[in-house]
Symmetry: C2
Subunit: 323 residues, 2 copies
């Protein structure tokens, strides 16, 4: 019997749906605007129909396959309860039992976790962490998300909310974070963090007044292109980001002593510009027993496929753990 899973990534703007087999092939996919559905039950209904359409589209032998489950990655997703809880980037307020809605509608197992945890599992099943039992996965997007795997298992913690490295405080009295506190890692090491760093550098350098550049135009990609073009301030913004990230990752090693740390997301695509200063700071700040043996690697998941492969891995992982 050929098993397939339906993978769903709930984003603030779009919800992406994919049908994925055990080898990580995405057999078909679709996308709908999350914002069109102020009532989550309406989204579940539309997505469930879409899943059945997509499966039909795959032209699998009708008698030869089974839908093993629905895997869902979502912001503020809680693995234990299968709920999305108070997600600031979604219109849905409060606690939404999304996994239950899907399992009720489609009559299959539905597993939900936060998007970074899902992507970490994707890395383990279909990316660079294949065969690894201990690693940390970090997404450097608008914010900083993370998933920690220990002894082959995702760390969920007592309440399902483990692995929030974006909110470790790395600078006391540092930059204001959206979480209400100051100095969180994601205020420095993320696409939005590096923009703040770049403007700080411009202000203190005085060589190019921030007023002279169109601040609307400045994003991580702009700073990347500037740095590649030889702009020292942009280059230094990446250096500083790597320095802060390297120290935070070195401290992270003292918790779970991973084999590797994977960096994923827009900012990680800056390549050496980010990885070089990160690795230098990482090794410099590591306790001697950990030095020269922990790899900092770019994620091996394709940027666009990662949310789907991650959500799919939730089900493959569930089946593997209970087989």
């Amino acid at each position: 019997m050929h098993q397939i899973v339906a993978a769903i990534d709930i984003g603030g703007t779009n919800t992406v749906i994919g049908i994925v087999d055990k080898e990580g092939n995405i057999l078909s996919r679709a996308s709908i605007p999350t914002t069109d559905y102020p009532n989550p039950k309406d989204l579940v209904e539309v997505v469930s129909k879409k899943i059945l359409d997509l499966i039909a589209f795959c032209q699998l032998p009708t008698a030869g396959f089974v839908l093993a489950g629905v895997g869902i990655g979502a912001p503020n997703g809680n693995y234990f309860s299968g709920t999305i809880e108070f997600a600031p980037n979604l219109k849905w307020k409060g606690v939404i039992p999304l996994a239950k809605y899907f399992s009720d509608t489609l009559n299959v197992k539905a597993v939900l976790t936060n998007d970074a945890n899902a992507a970490a599992l994707g890395e383990m099943y279909f990316g660079g962490a294949r065969g690894m039992k201990d690693f940390i996965f970090v997404t450097l997007g608008t914010g900083l998300g993370s998933g920690i795997v220990v002894d082959g298992k995702m760390v969920y913690g007592h309440d399902g909310f483990a692995g929030e490295l974006g909110h470790i405080i790395v600078m006391q009295h540092g930059r204001q974070c959206g979480c209400g506190r100051k100095g969180c890692l994601e205020q420095y090491c993320s696409a939005s963090g590096i923009v703040k760093t770049y403007f700080e550098i411009l202000r203190s350098a005085g060589s190019e007044s921030p007023k002279l550049i169109d601040s609307e135009k400045v994003d991580a990609k702009y700073i990347f292109e500037k740095a590649m073009g030889g702009d020292e301030n942009a280059f230094y913004a990446f250096n500083y980001t790597g320095e802060v990230l390297g120290l935070a990752l070195a401290n992270s090693v003292a918790y779970t002593s991973p084999e590797a740390i994977f960096l994923f997301g827009g900012l990680a695509q800056a390549g050496e510009l980010l990885f070089n200063p990160t690795v230098i700071s990482f090794e410099k700040n590591l306790l001697n027993i950990y030095r020269d043996k922990i790899k900092i690697l770019p994620s091996a998941l394709p940027e666009n496929d990662a949310p789907i492969l991650g959500a799919a891995s939730l089900i493959w992982n569930e089946l593997a753990q209970h087989s």
Copy 2:
């Protein structure tokens, strides 16, 4: 068949040996000076004989019990390899395969890990963490040791050296640490750390010159007694220690989201003087999703029994995991 284990705690000064049953009763115990044995094999021979003597002393029914194994807690102990590796506080240099020496000599299973990991398991089997699956255990002794339990299992990491919270860098360019780096947590939150803090406070307060007090006399206990007697500088030293510890523990929660954090060791015995500022700083620095639900608790293990109960737990844990 009644099972018992031999528990060994290798310390820089003394090696303590105990015979422990499954309920955590220490049936008999002994101690020998570690420093008398520059060759670890000699210590193993003497300790092995002592174990047989202690078992005889317990007057167990000869046909009715079995020695299930030898559990060993040791500085720089590596669970995976059963070795003590480059322990700065022991005379034995290099890598010592102590678990193998014991299993060869006594012909039973021998399991070794570092002393803080062992004590954390002791807390799980015989202390306040009974029934908990996710917790962090912190020893505040001369240094700061720790053990992290996730989903009911000790976190060892890829290399067996996970859980070195004493060496997370909490102050960049901070106090010089014995590990060669600066600003490690144990330079602030430990019996030796609070002495440094106290002298810093005296120097900056100027109210009582450090020169006027016999600096040899000042240890954590001295500062505790001063604080209990109303000395503001000593009181502030505890406050500062708690502030730094509370922030570090709040950051730790973002990794493994534990149900509770246990504080053990000399400094933890200062009670409210340390716990009050620690809890205030902890809650203030926690990400909102974690607030008001994670307990910071004193260890429920008796100070003198903890190393033995911890080492014994290594074997009970091994049997539980593989049963």
